[in-house]
């Protein structure tokens, strides 16, 4: 298209009445971009701006009452809201513990199976199954597993002569139970990324290190980890971002209880927005989560550049 324009062979000359076509050709790049820009505006930019607008208003569930501008009032509420503090603490605990375990297990499994995986494609498929399942199905499955009277886990405990546990109902076990379910579902994701990373490692440095008599541990620490750093950063970034918006497991397994021990930010935002009909405050909490996610992402990206 550009070629014909630069040739000086105008389409209007070849096709009378083609002014529109000529205009379209001149602006083709913008026309091609327009659908994407429109979709972005409709689905991302507008909702984000609207959320900012909502976050500085008190919004009544009564449509006849106007939105009341409260400025930073909704954000100030965050400081004194005990339920928000509980949800924030629980979210941090969940994110740190779950992502750490998932990373260590995923990396460990990948290292273990790296050499054999090509021969064990069936095993690879089986390991992928949990992350393919819809989160709601995973949550319901674990609810049945954890059920104190009829669940399979307590049946095993009973047959082994071990004390029965209220897995999702015990204040000391509820968060642990949610973490176990999340680790079961998302360790394969880390495993898959690590496996891809390991497959892309260059062979020569390892051969040189082996000639120099470097142990497997030294090779792992001095070669594998530095080579894998970008992959590790991406894996952790994606998992942390996802863990910060944990909802399904908590909603189905515990509803935030017992005693608020599993109330996380996403569940609290949902409650504030839909159960308490206070979308302005919910928008402020959402913006806080967005801010934390952006800060974490930026930090991760910088780390990745350092690794490069």
């Amino acid at each position: 298209m550009l070629k014909s324009a630069s040739d000086g062979t105008s389409s209007t000359q070849s096709r009378p009445g083609g002014g529109l076509e000529q205009w379209a050709e001149r602006h083709l790049r913008y026309l091609m971009l327009a659908p994407t820009v429109l979709i972005l505006l409709a689905l991302t930019i507008f909702p984000s701006l609207y959320m900012f607008y909502a976050a500085v208003h008190k919004i009544s569930p009564n449509p006849d009452l106007p939105w009341e501008f409260v400025g930073a009032g909704n954000f100030a509420r965050l400081l004194s809201d005990a339920q928000f503090h509980v949800a924030l603490r629980n979210t941090i605990v969940f994110t740190v513990v779950a992502v750490t375990i998932e990373f260590l297990l995923g990396l460990g499994l990948a290292l273990l199976l790296d050499k054999f995986i090509r021969r064990l494609t069936f095993l690879k498929t089986v390991l992928m199954v949990p992350m393919m399942l819809p989160p709601i199905a995973v949550a319901i499955t674990w609810k049945l597993i954890y059920e104190p009277q009829f669940g399979v886990l307590n049946e095993i405990m009973y047959r082994l002569g071990l004390p029965l546990q209220a897995w999702a109902g015990d204040v000391n076990l509820a968060m642990f139970s949610i973490i176990v379910a999340d680790v079961w579902q998302w360790t394969p994701f880390i495993f898959l990324l690590m496996l891809a990373g390991l497959a892309s490692l260059p062979v020569e440095p390892y051969e040189a290190a082996a000639l120099d008599g470097a142990s497997s541990w030294r090779q792992f620490w001095d070669l594998t980890i530095p080579f894998l750093k970008p992959v590790i950063a991406i894996a952790l970034l994606l998992r942390v971002m996802d863990a910060l918006r944990l909802f399904d497991l908590v909603f189905i397994l515990t509803g935030g209880g017992p005693a608020d021990r599993t109330k996380v930010l996403s569940l609290y935002i949902y409650q504030v927005a839909y159960r308490f009909a206070d979308p302005g405050y919910a928008a402020a909490i959402s913006l806080f989560v967005l801010f934390v996610t952006i800060v974490l992402s930026t930090w991760f990206m910088k780390r990745m550049r350092l690794a490069d």
Binding site: P61, P63, P148, D170, V171, G255, P258, A259, F276, A277
Partner: protein, 419 residues
């Protein structure tokens, strides 16, 4: 080529518009489960009989509130009728989402709903409670009952439990002899709505309530509240480990499987308990009104009611459908579909009462007449959440029962602005 594409798109859009308009004359938002299924079946009958197409949109319990509230707040008019749980009525009515039914009754030549409806069923449909105009009509007559295994209770030395002390005596003996696999009592201890729903009848049966009569003062942290909490904690101690996360399904399953001897429960579980494919306890579970504490027992009313959304564009058609669906004939059909009735004539209909599966009707009618509504407050969902957190903490043992009452008092005062 482009012209052809436009023509095709235009034809498709027209077809969609026509079919969309013809899709339904009125749209009803209903919950999943027997209540929604019953109304969906009624809607299909209505379409056949009257030619008015009624589309039902089913959603899980919590989502019905959210979708209804969202439709109300945005004046979308997407739903003409919402089948509401009765504690939601003040929220919907006081935020202008519900239509006052008075002019529709007048147009129909009626003063209001007829006297065959139970008085407690009608009282919740008025806003303010029992005094204001009707904003909905009752459809499903839920009120909690006390369910117990009479044979097991007899073994434990209690013939028919009349008081919470009777329940505790039998439950303690049964749990102690149960070897960790059988329990005298079971309840919904899950944080939020579940634990509040199972605590309220005990709360009331000791003369306690969340507010005083004119709703000007929060009255949770009182001697009456403390007495109720003491019984609740004693019941927890004879219940299975894990009730801290239990909701209706877990409690119903424990009773149907015969691993727990008693509980407070909703009447729609009777069908499950009497179904041999789902229950080991067919014919073995007895029903009674809520036991007494220091005051007569009172169950929580939990009716499903139909209201017209203010933004509806088909209000008259919606009212006609509601009036038809709540008629004696239709409430009887609804009862046969498994939904407890709201009319005295259906509760006492010999065709129903002679059937074994409706043997709980006299008890249920008594329970509805002696029931108490959850506090009629537009911020009830928030109040229930705060109270539910503190009750959950007490059940889990992270705070004392006294702290739970004190914290609940403070939290509800903050939410409502009352002192």
């Amino acid at each position: 080529m482009v012209r052809k594409l436009f023509l095709t798109l235009a034809a498709a859009a027209s077809a969609l518009a026509i079919s969309g308009a013809a899709w339904a004359d009125i749209t009803v938002l209903v919950p999943s489960g027997s209540e929604g299924d019953g109304l969906r079946a009624a809607a299909a009958d209505y379409a056949k009989m009257k030619g008015t197409k009624v589309e039902t949109v089913q959603a899980p319990y919590a989502n019905v509130f959210e979708q209804g509230a969202n439709a109300g707040a945005t004046k979308s008019g997407v739903f003409d009728i919402v089948l509401m749980d009765d504690p939601w009525i003040p929220f919907f009515a006081e935020n202008g989402h519900l239509e006052d039914l008075t002019p529709f009754f007048k147009n129909a030549g009626l003063e209001g709903p007829d006297n065959d409806f139970l008085s407690k069923s009608l009282a919740i449909c008025r806003n303010p409670y029992n005094s204001g105009p009707y904003v909905c009509l009752p459809y499903v007559g839920n009120a909690q009952m006390f369910f117990y295994d009479a044979a097991k209770y007899k073994e434990a030395g209690v013939e028919a439990p009349k008081t919470w002390d009777d329940v505790l005596k039998a439950s303690k003996a049964l749990t102690e002899g149960g070897g960790g696999r059988y329990f005298g009592y079971v309840f919904r201890g899950g944080q939020g709505n579940p634990v509040v729903a199972d605590f309220m009848p005990i709360f009331w049966s000791y003369g306690a309530d969340l507010f005083n009569a004119d709703r000007s003062k929060v009255t949770i942290d009182t001697p009456e509240g403390a007495a109720a909490m003491k019984t609740f904690m004693a019941l927890r101690d004879v219940s299975p480990k894990g009730v801290e996360s239990y909701n209706a399904n877990e409690v119903g399953t424990a009773l149907a499987a015969g691993t727990s001897a008693s509980s407070i429960n909703w009447p729609n579980w009777v069908a499950t308990f009497e179904d041999p494919s789902q229950s080991k306890m067919v014919g073995k579970i007895s029903y009674s009104p809520i036991p007494a504490g220091t005051k007569p027992g009172s169950s929580e009313i939990g009716h499903w009611t139909m209201g017209i959304m203010s933004a509806s564009k088909n209000k008259q058609e919606a009212f006609d459908f509601m009036l038809w669906a709540t008629s004696p004939e239709q409430i009887k059909i609804s009862a046969e579909r498994g939904n407890p009735p709201v009319r005295a004539s259906v509760f006492t209909d010999p065709e129903l009462t002679k059937q074994e599966k409706f043997r709980h009707y006299p008890v249920l009618m008594e329970a509805i007449q002696a029931s108490t509504p959850r506090p009629r407050h537009p911020k009830w969902p928030e109040i229930e959440n705060a109270f539910g957190i503190e009750l959950s903490k007490a059940v889990a043992g992270t705070i004392t029962p006294e702290e739970a009452l004190k914290n609940s008092q403070t939290a509800v005062e903050q939410i409502t602005g009352l002192k």
